[in-house]
């Protein structure tokens, strides 16, 4: 067997070839969970629309964002109140301008007072299952939640 390896792989010592094969075998074994997970996700999503995929990723947050996008025009500015960075909701709300408000959730009213003609949005956590967002209209409009 070793002699055979030596003949086939004449450009490396047999010990090196065996080590490389060992590494390859360990890699193959350790990728199985990722492969199984990816294939199961792909089977679920390959017929889905982009919006459905977003909703799958953020089951609580994405419906909130969709409602916010319907209410707030693309030209409007929103002030963000959120204790947790990074503020990935900006990615979904663009081209609305998202400005940094405060990291304290209690500051929502203060930010509204400071910017009475703009919207305020609060966002609580990064946990994809519990992530929620609430929007507060400019002070001359009635407060509402999505």
């Amino acid at each position: 067997m070793l002699a055979r390896i030596k003949t086939v792989y004449s450009d490396l010592p047999v010990a090196a070839i065996v080590l490389l094969w060992m590494g390859l075998a360990v890699n193959l074994y350790n990728v199985i969970p990722s492969a199984a997970w990816s294939i199961s996700i792909f089977r679920r999503t390959w017929t889905m629309s982009l919006q459905e995929k977003y909703a799958l990723l953020y089951p609580a947050l994405y419906p909130d964002l969709e409602k916010i996008k319907q209410r707030v025009s693309e030209k409007d500015t929103l002030w963000l109140v959120s204790p947790k960075e990074p503020w990935h909701i900006n990615y979904y709300l663009y081209p609305r301008t998202l400005r940094w408000g405060s990291p304290r959730m209690d500051d929502v009213e203060a930010i509204r007072q400071a910017h009475p003609s703009d919207w305020v949005i609060s966002h609580n956590t990064l946990d994809p299952q519990k992530d929620r967002a609430w929007v507060y209209p400019p002070l001359n409009e009635k407060r509402s939640q999505p």
């Binding site: 010592p13 090196a16 360990v26 890699n27 990722s34 990816s38 990935h88």
Partner: protein, 439 residues
């Protein structure tokens, strides 16, 4: 359908641009040159105050590809490395494995849109800004207070993704991740082509298979090949930088590797902040070891080409929440910080779910090569040591929670280091082959 046309259009543009002057290089090299040149070209266009719009860019792309196809049909390409005459079953098995992993990467890219946090906030958002505004020169990049994390971060990945969106005419972040899989394929092509200079096809594919089957490249986190962050493109460009440096180091009479090194250095610097210091190290070390005036001239040319980016980058605000690196932080952490860092690194490198036994194999293979008293490649060894020192220093200088920062950054940063380690070790077997060839 539109996404499919855009996908082919984008990648053909990259490949053809790289092929215009470097037709004799393998696909991965040419593709990398194209990615660096085209995306840096977009940046320069914007830097001149000009915008990019979807319609005109699609027209220009179509005309360019048509003209290139006409010229290409009249040209014959040379290939320095002759293709294997037949594929034996060992090579066939490794190719099959690599194809299965490639398919897995494509499945991962197709399954979900960009969703890893850094992929969204660092790159996805900037791609959206670029396609909507047609330039980086608007308030989202310049005004503090508007939420755009790290506005002064290098823009190659955002431009690459925006190029795809411009050709599609819309933001399709459920398709754009395939571009990252193509970068992975180009990286593989480059590594195999380089290994083929010294090894047979089957041995080259075995080395490459060890690297490209690393579980971390397919995990559901930011080390994933198609996660959409800049680390994999950066590792690709960095591999190009040190490999072209190595070519020149081995044969300083040839200037051409330095030309290629310039283009990959641009890609490196324009993809990730780490690129500036690593590129400087690669050029500096090359000069320190070879002392050729050509190196200084080429490094100067590289510096001149990068001046627009450095000038504009210095005018863009730093992220208003991310603290800056400081020596004081590192000094305050002192010895304890270093011990903490070392322990955390050991945990990361021995994490089988990301690395398998890669970091055990590298020293083991080195010991196998040492049995025959082969000399170590000084250029690669010093570069690896410097890269590890720089990365350690950056981590220790960042005034944030050390454990969290190491956990977030080092698993992916080690994918920049791993190709260098792979080539350092594979190079340590090269003299044996040369001796055999001589015999």
């Amino acid at each position: 359908m539109r996404s499919l046309i855009a996908f082919f259009g984008q990648n053909l543009v990259y490949l053809s641009v790289g092929s215009i002057f470097f037709a004799d290089l393998s696909l991965g090299w040419r593709y990398g040159i194209g990615v660096a040149a085209v995306n840096y070209g977009f940046f320069l266009w914007n830097a001149l105050g000009l915008r990019i719009a979807s319609g005109p860019l699609r027209g220009v792309t179509a005309v360019y590809l048509l003209v290139y196809a006409l010229l290409f049909s009249l040209r014959r390409h040379r290939h320095r490395i002759p293709p294997a005459k037949f594929i034996d079953w060992h090579s066939g098995l490794y190719l099959f494995l690599l194809s299965v992993y490639g398919l897995l990467a494509v499945i991962q890219a197709m399954a979900l849109p960009l969703y890893h946090l850094d992929a969204i906030i660092g790159f996805g958002l900037k791609s959206k800004l670029l396609i909507h505004a047609g330039t980086f020169k608007f308030p989202y990049f310049y005004e503090r207070g508007i939420i755009n994390p790290v506005p002064n971060y290098p823009l190659l990945v955002p431009y690459g993704q925006a190029f795809f969106y411009w050709l599609v005419g819309a933001v399709r972040d459920d398709n754009v991740r395939i571009w990252h899989a193509v970068i992975g394929a180009a990286w593989l092509s480059m590594i195999v082509a380089e290994l083929r200079r010294h090894f047979t096809l089957r041995t080259s594919l075995l080395w490459a298979a060890l690297f490209f089957t690393l579980p971390g490249l397919y995990r559901d986190n930011e080390t994933q090949l198609v996660s959409g962050i800049s680390d994999i493109p950066f590792a690709f460009f960095w591999t190009g930088v040190f490999l072209s440096g190595l070519r020149y180091w081995k044969n300083p009479r040839q200037i051409r590797p330095l030309t290629v090194m310039i283009l990959f250095s641009i890609g490196c610097v324009f993809t990730k902040s780490n690129g500036t210091i690593l590129t400087a190290l690669a050029w500096g070390l090359l000069y320190a070891q070879r002392r050729k005036p050509e190196i200084l001239k080429m490094a100067l040319l590289l510096g001149l080409l990068l001046v627009p980016w450095f000038v504009i980058q210095s005018g863009l605000p730093h992220d208003f929440t991310t603290p800056r690196l400081s020596f004081d932080t590192m000094a305050a952490r002192g010895w304890q910080g270093l011990v903490f860092y070392s322990r955390a690194m050991i945990r990361i490198l021995f994490d089988r779910a990301t690395w398998g036994i890669f970091w055990v194999l590298m020293p083991a293979l080195f010991m196998v090569s040492m049995r025959d008293h082969r000399p170590i490649n000084n250029y690669l060894a010093l570069l690896l040591a410097l890269q590890l020192i720089v990365y350690g220093a950056i981590i220790l200088m960042e005034p944030v929670d050390l454990g969290a920062f190491i956990g977030a950054q080092m698993p992916r940063w080690m994918f920049h280091v791993a190709p260098l380690a792979l080539f350092l070790i594979s190079e340590s077997f090269v003299p044996l082959i040369s001796q055999k060839e001589i015999a």
